[in-house]
């Protein structure tokens, strides 16, 4: 031991004293004080910061990006997402969710749903003030409360949202819905689209008293909110004019390798059609075509392929797993099984 006895003790005390006094007078005060006086003072959140998922819509809330393909439901590690597909009065399945629940008491904020979503429909919010009085019902987020506009997404994550918009523009196919004039937004939507900053980080400087601060905090969440959105919204009409399938000679269809059977189009490739209708359209086609018709037609890639790719893989025997089509659920699985059994491939 060097020096006099007790030297180590005194040196340690000097360090403590330096830190204590320095936290009041030092030029490096900010280095020594890393705490924030929450909630009056707020730490700026980095753009990547994530809490709970929300659903993005373009323009108005009925232009939801989500197609209810259930990829997120399948991949969600703690299984906190529950989705039911919507259907029109005739029972025809629609490309949007009827029920979309996220149990935020179970959600572990991992962000895997946002990562795997093929449609950029689910993204991670950065709002962490979600405490509730109740433990059960209040902590289940239903569809209306999950909807947030693309503008909100741009507000919280500008870089990421720009990147997503760019890829979507590149990938997006021209659809009749996109060409239609945008409907005038209702008051609730207008509030969302208004250019007022959605989330100020600190209260305005002219708020001084404690009561004013409390009042400001109380109104804080309301600045954020999208207002009440009533679900279900107007049923969007999906024009489906299936062309009559050009019948192919049955003998040729069996002999044709799966990949080359594209002639005659894929009239069943419309997720608005129900399974029986799709199977009828593909009745006289090759095995790969019939397999494809059994799928949910979302090209969601939950199986690791698009619908055509998965059908080809099954027909060629690359994979034997018929359970991969998540949006198709049991009816797709059973149909695939039947088709493959008929063809003697299972």
């Amino acid at each position: 031991m060097n020096g006099f006895p007790g030297k180590g003790l005194l040196e340690g005390l000097a360090v403590t004293a330096k830190n204590f006094i320095g936290s009041y007078f030092d030029d490096n005060r900010k280095e020594r004080l890393f705490t924030y006086q929450y909630p009056e003072e707020r730490m700026p959140l980095p753009e990547n910061s994530r809490t709970f998922p929300f659903l993005v819509y373009d323009g108005t809330p009925d232009q939801l990006r989500c197609t209810a393909c259930k990829v997120c439901e399948t991949e969600c590690p703690p299984q906190c997402i529950y989705i039911v597909r919507d259907s029109d009065p005739n029972g025809k399945p629609l490309q949007r969710p009827k029920v979309f629940d996220i149990d935020i008491s179970v959600c572990m904020q991992c962000g895997i749903c946002a990562e795997v979503c093929p449609f950029d429909a689910i993204k991670m919010d950065c709002d962490f003030e979600r405490s509730q009085h109740g433990r059960f019902e209040e902590l289940v987020a239903h569809l209306p409360s999950l909807l947030k506009s693309n503008d909100y997404y741009h507000h919280i994550k500008p870089t990421e949202a720009d990147r997503v918009d760019a890829t979507r523009k590149r990938v997006k196919k021209p659809s009749p819905a996109a060409a239609a004039p945008a409907p005038t937004p209702g008051p609730a939507v207008a509030a969302v689209l208004s250019p007022t900053p959605l989330k100020p980080m600190s209260p305005p400087a002219d708020i001084l008293t404690e009561d004013e601060k409390r009042a400001w905090l109380k109104g804080y969440q309301s600045i954020l909110g999208t207002g009440p959105i009533v679900w279900p919204l107007t049923t969007k009409k999906i024009a489906t004019t299936p062309q009559p399938p050009t019948p192919a000679p049955a003998a040729a269809a069996v002999a044709t390798p799966p990949a080359s059977s594209l002639a005659g189009g894929e009239p069943w490739h419309d997720s608005g059609l129900d399974l029986a209708k799709r199977m009828e359209l593909a009745k006289d086609r090759s095995l790969a075509d019939r397999l494809m018709a059994a799928m949910a037609q979302l090209d969601c890639q939950a199986c690791g392929y698009d619908c055509r790719g998965y059908a080809n893989a099954l027909a060629a025997g690359v994979t034997r797993d018929v359970t991969l089509c998540a949006p198709g659920e049991d009816e797709t699985k059973n149909t695939l099984e039947t088709l493959l059994k008929e063809a003697g491939k299972l």
């Binding site: 180590g8 830190n19 980095p46 991949e75 590690p77 895997i112 199986c303 991969l324």
Partner: protein, 373 residues
């Protein structure tokens, strides 16, 4: 029975924990005392058991990644890496160079924050009430800020992916990391001045809880604990996984294997980590951060089994995986360093006073999330 025979004494059984502030989590020690001396000690674990391995066998390969964050919740980055490494080994994925460097940066920053907090809490156990651990937490906070900037979460990063990492480090993030690394040596100097030469500390720690070299090897102790006992074994040097063969760093090794050595080893390892970080941040190449053949949805791993291990801050962290060729593992097993390091607790504590048992446990550096899984 002890004593001179004048006073009749008997042994006392004490149940220490599971809610004792010095047990570092829900962990219990059944201690038999003779006076103040420990004659028997039985660690009782399992209070935090969450069925991690069984859950992983029900999830997709990717689905287990956020669960690995919750093993050793101080070091989510290294947990991610070990799991990703095991899956990459099975799937034959090659990781791009930039991603390998990013992984090294993240792992070494994790080592810095883990070691600084480990010794901080150890000093709290010694009675240096909260000043050292507060300084450690202050520095850890800056690293967590960096993790949040990059990965989106402070502790549950969920950052690594099979075949790379999820988000690239941009120039701002790299500058932030460089600032962190640059200020770390001065923090260490201040920290050492605060406590290392402290006479009370030396009296409490030296020759306490000696773990002999042979026992450390026989009990397959790994990490700083084994190195403090004089076992020069570091998976970074032995396996050279990732790009660790490109960095110049030394492996500190202790002599006596007492609590003070385990404290000192961590300080020295942090200094070596700073060296690795400086080299990694200097040499980091450009390019993609994820392998082009890596996929998220419907990811399948060819049938087979494999074990991959890394040098996590607490020791050798390994994942043993068996795949049937499907979208989920058939068997998933974790080799947690703190669990195995805890098995020699009784050997280290025997013959010491009960107050020493507390600091010996502190020097093992356990996280119950990993011990119980």
């Amino acid at each position: 029975m002890s004593g001179s025979g004048l006073i009749q004494t008997q042994r006392l059984e004490v149940s220490l924990g599971p809610q004792h502030p010095s047990t570092h989590g829900v962990f219990r020690m059944d201690v038999v005392l003779d006076g103040e001396y420990v004659v028997k000690l039985k660690p009782v674990m399992g209070y935090l058991h969450r069925n991690h391995e069984q859950i992983a066998e029900k999830l997709t390969w990717l689905g287990s990644m956020p669960y690995t964050d919750r093993l050793d919740y101080f070091c989510s980055m290294t947990n991610n890496w070990a799991y990703a490494l095991a899956v990459e080994k099975l799937a034959g994925l090659k990781v791009p160079e930039r991603a390998e460097y990013i992984r090294v940066i993240m792992a070494e920053l994790t080592r810095l924050l883990n070691h600084s907090c480990a010794i901080g809490f150890l000093l709290s156990d010694c009675g240096a009430w909260f000043t050292p651990v507060l300084y450690a937490l202050r520095e850890r906070e800056r690293i967590l800020d960096f993790f949040e900037t990059v990965s989106g979460a402070r502790m549950m990063c969920n950052y690594m992916r099979f075949g790379g990492v999820r988000v690239d480090l941009d120039e701002t993030a790299l500058a932030m990391a460089r600032r962190l690394v640059a200020r770390w040596p001065s923090f260490l100097d201040e920290f050492e001045k605060l406590i290392t030469g402290n006479e009370v500390l030396l009296a409490r720690m030296q020759r306490v809880g000696i773990l002999p070299r042979e026992l450390a090897i026989n009990a397959s102790i790994s990490g700083p604990m084994a190195r403090a006992s004089g076992v020069a074994y570091d998976v970074r040097k032995v396996d050279k996984y990732g790009v660790y063969d490109r960095f110049e760093f030394r492996v500190p090794v202790g002599e006596t294997g007492d609590t003070y050595d385990r404290y000192m080893i961590r300080i020295l390892e942090m200094r070596e980590s700073v060296k690795i970080l400086q080299q990694a941040l200097r040499d980091i190449p450009g390019g993609p951060v994820i392998a082009p053949e890596a996929r998220l949805r419907g990811f399948k791993v060819p049938a087979g089994d494999g074990y991959a291990r890394i040098e996590a801050p607490k020791g050798e962290l390994g994942f043993y995986l068996v795949s049937e060729g499907g979208t989920k593992p058939y068997r998933y097993h974790v080799r947690p360093p703190s669990f195995i390091n805890l098995t020699v607790l009784e050997d280290m504590c025997l013959g010491h006073k009960i107050a020493d048992a507390i600091i010996i446990l502190g020097s093992v550096d356990i996280v119950l999330g990993e011990v119980d899984r």
